[in-house]
Amino acid sequence: MSDLFSFVETRYVYLFVVALLGIGLWAVLVERHLIKKLVGLTIFQTAIFMFFIEGSVKTGADVPVIDKAAGSDPALYVNPLPHVLMLTGLVVAVAVLGVALSLAVVIHKAFGTLDDDELTERKRAS
């Protein structure tokens, strides 16, 4: 039992990430409204960003700008790479979301609805 507790205590962030991935995927697959699907997609991507950030957490480290007084010991500085990767990932995610929202506008203008099931029916009819 204490094993389980210590596992949850040390790895709870990963459980949180997995839960977020599940919620996001659930929303994408099950929700009928297209905008809710996009919300799910954003949650899914955010979970992955959290995973990268959590993986690069370092206690007692500083921003990665070398301080002359402290020296250049790698243990004193945070690894900047995962953070930069996620900054790029965020930009990509925002760009994709922008395209998705503009497509949603086009779909709403053409069909008057954003309900996935109704759109499938309209598609069959045409």
């Binding site: 297209l34 699907k37 790029t88 760009a95 497509l103 779909i107 203008k109 053409a110 598609k123």
Partner: protein, 456 residues
């Protein structure tokens, strides 16, 4: 002998395309016709540059480039070897054909409307060339997304139904690339590197850990979604059949192939060979490839809409490529790459024919193609040649299956390879027939039409 030499070509190709895309946006706002010429010049120069580079590396040399003065394991590496050169040349050449195709027919837009289609095409090519050149796992993700964004927009140009198809593709595609990103995260936190070569070395040391298996599965599933390997192909039929013809030609001929290329790179250069022995990744690829061939061919035969039939046939062809990767022998891989080349030209031509026929006559369904041989002889000659090329290439694919038992591959794959040979043999005749269906109905049904014509 594998030698490496430094060259800026692998960086200049995607960067040049990106600059051309920006120039095309700016000039497109002023004169769309100029934007088209920018695109033609950029893709033509790209094709020539790729051709020259390919001639240089064809004997096994690798051209490498680094960015910002940091060598590969620390900085982002780009490389141009025979495999990436082959794919890049194909990408640039198909891009050139697509921008030469009249935009009015190809994208359903008049030439003087300020729609930056050529900028989108160039952006798509930027992403595709980037995926082909990069030697960095995260950089691959960024380029995947660059070409995907351009692809979503190009598909959406086809009208409201296309916008819906693009939206659904966007959802599935983004989930796919996010899974890939998650896999890259696993690799990074296990090995501390993003360079493909260095990651492969370090992964080989820890090949049996469950983290590595999870990473590999996530990356392969992500890329397979982008490649539309069965059963992750669900976005493809809608997206390719509703996209404007020139867009569909580009997507079917090179976009999914570049994802297949990324799959080849990941499976054979990043995934440690020890893991491939332990974990049946290649067997799974082969099985899904076979299933895709059967499903795609079956669905293609059932379609009445010409473009939709082409889209399902693409699913089948991607299945063949999946088998070629999964069998893991040099010859199977050569077969898969030959199919990439052959299918690019075949499917490109087919979509061009579909676009020309639709713009000239408004016909979309295969039955309505009857008698087109008289009305549009040259277009239909193109159609027949393309269908013939597909039939002609069947021997290559047979090579893929029949030479295998002698090629000394893994035993498990050998058994599957022979099973694949039988399955492929069965499906093989069906496939060219699908493509000939249109021309055959045209041959059979011209007669009544000919009789009718004098009376009208």
């Amino acid at each position: 002998m594998i030698t490496e030499s430094t060259s800026q070509l692998p960086v200049l190709l995607p960067a040049g395309m990106m600059i051309a895309a920006i120039v095309a946006v700016a000039t497109g706002a002023w004169r769309p016709a100029v934007a088209r010429w920018v695109a033609v010049v950029a893709t033509a120069v790209g094709t020539v540059a790729c051709g020259i580079g390919l001639a240089q590396v064809i004997d096994g040399q690798t051209l490498t480039a680094t960015i910002g003065g940091w060598a590969a394991p620390i900085g982002i590496g780009y490389r141009f070897d025979a495999l990436s050169g082959f794919i890049a040349t194909l990408v640039c050449f198909m891009g050139l054909l697509v921008v030469l195709y009249p935009p009015k027919v190809g994208f359903g837009l008049s030439n003087d409307r300020g729609m930056p289609i050529h900028a989108l095409v160039l952006l798509l090519l930027t992403g595709l060339l980037g995926v082909t050149m990069t030697a960095d796992l995260f950089n691959l993700f960024v380029f995947l997304e660059i070409y995907s964004i351009a692809a979503y927009s190009l598909i959406a140009l086809g009208g409201p139904l296309a916008a819906l198809a693009a939206f659904r593709y966007l959802i599935i595609g983004t989930i796919g690339s996010s899974l890939y990103l998650l896999g890259v995260g696993f690799v990074y936190f296990t090995t501390g590197t993003l360079s493909m070569a260095q990651a492969a070395d370090r992964l080989a040391e820890v090949a049996d850990s469950p983290t590595v298996i999870a990473a590999v599965v996530l990356m392969v599933v992500g890329i397979a979604t982008k490649m539309a390997l069965f059963p992750l192909h669900v976005w493809l039929p809608d997206a390719h059949s509703h996209a404007p013809p020139a867009g569909a030609a580009l997507l079917a001929s090179v976009q999914v192939k570049v994802a297949a290329y990324a799959l080849i790179r990941i499976t054979f250069e990043v995934v440690p060979p020890e893991l491939l022995d332990e974990f049946p990744l290649l067997t799974i690829l082969t099985v899904f490839g076979l299933a895709g061939v059967m499903f795609g061919s079956f669905m293609a035969i059932r379609q009445t809409d010409f473009k939709r039939m082409l889209a399902y046939s693409t699913v089948a062809q991607l299945g063949y490529i999946g088998i070629g990767i999964g069998l893991d022998t040099p010859l199977a891989l050569v077969g898969a790459l030959l199919l990439v080349l052959n299918h690019a030209f075949m499917k490109g031509t087919m979509f061009f024919v579909a676009g020309s026929v639709y713009s000239a006559t408004g016909r979309k369904s295969i039955e309505a193609f009857a008698g087109l041989g008289r009305r549009m002889p040259w277009t239909m000659v193109g159609f027949t040649v393309a269908a013939g090329v597909d039939g002609r290439a069947a021997p290559h694919r047979r090579v893929l299956f029949q030479v295998l038992p002698g090629a000394g591959c893994r035993r498990r794959c050998q058994r599957l390879g022979m099973g694949g040979g039988c399955g492929g043999g069965g499906v093989q005749p069906a496939h060219p027939h699908v493509l000939f269906a249109g021309s055959r109905s045209h041959l059979v049904q011209t007669r009544p039409r000919r009789r009718r014509r004098p009376r009208v």
